[in-house]
Subunit: 326 residues, 3 copies
């Protein structure tokens, strides 16, 4: 699938990549189509491996060209063309900048104009609703006062967007509500922490919101860096929830107020999370998990578990330990 929100350069070759990463050119130069995650890559894409947590997926990727480091390279198939670098993520962001030179900038969309509701089917819109170019909105939707829908956003049928919402780089399903003050699709908190200066990097991913979803007031949901941030069908988010880049939340989850998800965490289906709990980066939470309010999840949680605490552990142990110390 091509990127709806960012224009890709189509003439990138292996030697362009090697040059930007400060390697020598190769005689056998060839065209590279795009940079993608391991699971999304096709045979002409470049991909990357930064943690042995994703080694299983690396072994199944269609890509033949991969950026990785010294430690991980020996676990990869011999037939892959490996670009070995010291810092994988820094290299990846340099390659993203090569393919998507406009994506580093996350400025507001200067193309927005007051909406013309006649262009849409049975749309109800408030005052001062601003809409960008090429926005698709399904039938029977409503958009509240002062909300901003930036260019190329896609919204399904029967959706309700509240007041003061900012929606960009997002694709929204049917019957989904986005409540007042939510900010969906801005660039993630992504940068490479340099010794002298923090370096911002581009975010070419989107936010994909399913059907029958509820996104609460003042939520902040950042778009993905390379992959997408995903909110599954039927999932409800309460107020002041923060979802960082690349987070995947499954179906029919219930996430209560002030919960936070760090980057690239992955949540199963029918997961319930109590207020103010936090999920660390790259954590995998299974299906049907219940996480108590205020918990801090810093390791993977298998399906069908009930956990609580900081760090989160089996809820029976949490309550037992709490009693002993009381």
């Amino acid at each position: 699938m091509s990127n709806l929100f960012f224009k890709k350069k189509n003439n990138i070759k292996l030697n362009d990549i090697l040059k930007i990463l400060k390697f020598k050119s190769q005689k056998k130069n060839f065209k590279i189509n795009d940079i993608k995650t391991l699971d999304q890559s096709d045979k002409n894409d470049i991909t990357f491996l930064n943690s042995n947590k994703y080694l299983d997926i690396a072994l199944k990727t269609k890509s033949k060209l991969i950026i990785t480091n010294k430690k991980l390279k020996n676990s990869l198939p011999k037939k892959m063309y490996i670009i070995e670098v010291k810092n994988v993520l820094l290299a990846v962001y340099e390659v993203i900048g090569l393919f998507y030179p406009d994506a580093l900038d996350d400025d507001f969309d200067a193309n927005v104009k007051i909406i013309n509701i006649k262009k849409y089917l049975n749309l109800k819109a408030g005052k001062n609703v601003l809409i960008g170019r090429n926005v698709k909105i399904g039938k029977n939707c409503s958009i509240g006062n002062n909300s901003i829908i930036e260019s190329n956003v896609v919204i399904g049928n029967n959706c309700k967007i509240g007041n003061n919402v900012v929606l960009k780089n997002s694709i929204v399903g049917n019957n989904t509500n986005i409540l007042d003050g939510a900010i969906v699709g801005k660039k993630g908190f992504g940068f490479y922490p340099g010794n002298k200066k923090n370096i911002r990097y581009a975010h070419i991913g989107s936010v994909i919101v399913g059907n029958d979803v509820e996104i609460g007031c003042n939520n902040t949901i950042d778009r993905g860096s390379i992959s997408n941030t995903i909110i599954g069908d039927g999932t409800f988010l309460d107020n002041q929830v923060h979802i960082a880049h690349n987070v995947k939340i499954g179906k029919n989850c219930i996430i209560t107020g002030q919960v936070g998800f760090a980057g690239s965490s992955s949540i199963g289906d029918r997961v319930m999370i109590g207020g103010q709990a936090g999920i660390s980066g790259h954590i995998i939470v299974g299906d049907n998990v219940q996480i108590g309010g205020g918990s801090g999840v810093i390791k993977d949680i298998p399906s069908n578990s009930k956990v609580m605490g900081y760090p989160a552990k089996n809820i029976r142990n949490f309550l037992k330990d709490s009693k002993l110390n009381d």
Copy 2:
């Protein structure tokens, strides 16, 4: 008191309720006035009991018609007309939908228009202030730029509403400030978690804000489901506080930044709560309680206590335990 914000159907009879709950009709049919909480019910209202925590109040309710479950019904007076159901809350929300068919929808108010300050006494208003129908505003108030006051809201004298505020389904006292970006009165995070799909339910309660209150920036205060969400006189809320449906906060409390209250928690007078603390649902906190920053309160706290920790316990024990483990 009649509901300011939602139109009630006035011809509901017992058999209408029995029908929607899938019971047989009764010969002795009679008119039911409204659905209310135990303490608010009058003799012609239907009420409900879902936890033995509220049994004392149930024994004093004026209502003669009550929805409850098998476990709780035997504790109720014999003279009450009991409708026994498996899931009390689900039944309650179906009955609410019967009385208030318009209340499920929480769409933005399409009746708002740019304010005409001449209609109010010494009102100072910013640019693009939007106001609904039948809004009452006292004398000497100010409303900042881009703020939205929806229909039927009542605001007292000498109030200051900041910029980008959304105020709906709320009654605000005198000398109260609501700071920039606060969202007050939207529907609570209420739904019945179904196996296949989460079911949203109506919220017919309001937010009642007292006199001399301060509501901080980017606060989210949800309206009650059946009862009201209440912020008592003289209570100050810092930034990014989240208050769920039906929460009652007493007088002269000081609630610092990023504190969260889960649904139906009840807080006494002169309570001080440190930053990022969380109060679980249905918890009762007494008067003059001090709760340390970051605490997680998961059981009732008696008056005049000082607690801290997760779960919150006596502050001396917290500090002692923390030392031992350091």
Copy 3:
């Protein structure tokens, strides 16, 4: 440096101060220039000491006139003119009100108008951008839709202000981004908790934002009460961060989502703080400190430490203790 945002009364004498604090007049009356913190005071300013934590600075202050309490006064040099009061902060706020009678009010700026971009160098502005009097904006900046920049604010070159931002009482450096929904410069959560009523007090400080800073979506950054709130060069703040009055954050820090800083906390350079961590009031955190997500920092942290937990402790101890209890 004179105060950009509040008008100071220039004819205040010692006896005016003594009168408001309910002391007798002195024969030797003299002019007082301003009220300032210990480190910022000049010889004609009045200052104050409220904690022995700041005694070192008190011994070096240029001021000769100081408000303090019985306990602390004996540690001060004999040559200082000491005004001994029971409650230092309450006295300070009364003196602030004397110098800055307009600063108690934190109402929105009624002088804002739709921006005229021709008045600035290469400025890109969205719809409905509101700007106050005497605002300075450097070259090549952008300001998103519905954002409000109040009077006297100063913004450097190459800054990007997002949508729905409120910026007041602030001075912003170069190359700094302030993302959608951030509220910067409003009055801090400052009041004196009275027995009968909480008393609000004036905030005459500003927010000083350095160069190359990133302020995330829906951040709330309050201005200082007497000193300033400071965000150092190169520091990045993620979404939903809350920064209370007088907080000082150093250079090149990385503060992730939903972190909260209580009033007057002080953070060194190159500090990294994980999501949802909280820093208590008046805490001092050194340079190069790493604070794990969800931590509650309630005591000073020396430079180069790694801490985690609630209360935060050495990360090795945290992980060891967590294992034992699991």
